[in-house]
């Protein structure tokens, strides 16, 4: 965990990126993409979250593997909750 001071240029770039993505995701939701509306919205959200985590939260610059492990395992656990619950709901009576 060395003190890594990131040039403020990067912060501004990320900030502009996030703003653009926000406007894009809001705009795209008005276009009919079928099932892809949800997918695009979630992909953009994930990309935005990734930008925040990597740059604003300095994960890209930390040498600490532990931080990444904490993030990855929390997300893994969240997916466990979602997928194993879905395993029930998606195969219940009548639903196809």
């Amino acid at each position: 965990m060395s003190e890594h001071i990131i040039p403020s240029k990067i912060y501004y770039a990320i900030w502009i990126g996030l703003m653009i993505l926000t406007v894009v995701t809001a705009a795209v939701s008005f276009v009919d993409l079928g099932p892809f509306n949800t997918i695009v919205a979630l992909l953009i959200a994930t990309f935005k979250a990734l930008l925040v985590v990597l740059f604003f939260m300095h994960v890209k610059y930390t040498s600490e593997k532990l931080t990444k492990m904490v993030i990855v395992s929390s997300l893994f656990w969240l997916l466990l909750l979602l997928f194993l619950s879905l395993a029930d709901y998606s195969t219940r009576y009548g639903h196809s």
Binding site: W15, L18, M19, A26, S29, V31, N37, K48, F56, M57
Partner: protein, 235 residues
Amino acid sequence: MSDSPIAVEQHEHRPELRHHFATVEQQRDSATLGMWLFLGTEIMFFGGMFCAYLIYRIWYYNEFAAGSRSLDIYLGTTNTIVLICSSLTVALSVRAAQLGKRGLVIILLILTLIFGLAFLGIKGVEWYDKYKEHHIPGSSFDAGDLVREYPQLHIDQSHEQIYFSLYFAMTGLHALHMIIGVGIFVYLLYHTWKGLYTPAYNTPIEIGGLYWHFVDIIWIYLFPLLYLIDRKPLR
């Protein structure tokens, strides 16, 4: 797990070093790890609601779509942008603290607080709108307006109430996190004012920042999940 055991015989005497730590680095790394673990916990805390959201969104897609359409997308987008701006000021304030620019830190923290309060204010306006529309779950809940507005979605009112329950639970708990965040930043501002943070010691700003960014990320997901479910032209 690469973290190495603490180094021996390194007794610096610095005011912020608590007695049970050997070095300032150890103390800082502990605090950072602690915050990350706490954020992991928070993911699961919101995760329970995401799970409920996922199931009911599949079951009651039309009601979720109608509920989503009834939210004000302009206010929602504005709020997202406000939070992103606050994240920027937070990131810059951490940087300023690392560089020891106390004045800049103070300005950035105040900006962050303004953005945070603006977010809460806009959120309050949105909630008030929902209150006026009788969209607050409970005995006075009435989604008749949505039933009339979107006949092609054949809305079931009690299912609509589930959408709004989740909407209020999720945005409410998010707002609670924002309020806690504002509290933390007031505390940080006060300590910065008093000059407690130096380029060598600014862990509180750093981990306070982590918390703020996390709350921002939750919103980054809540925004599409609640506002953008289905806005395309109805057939």
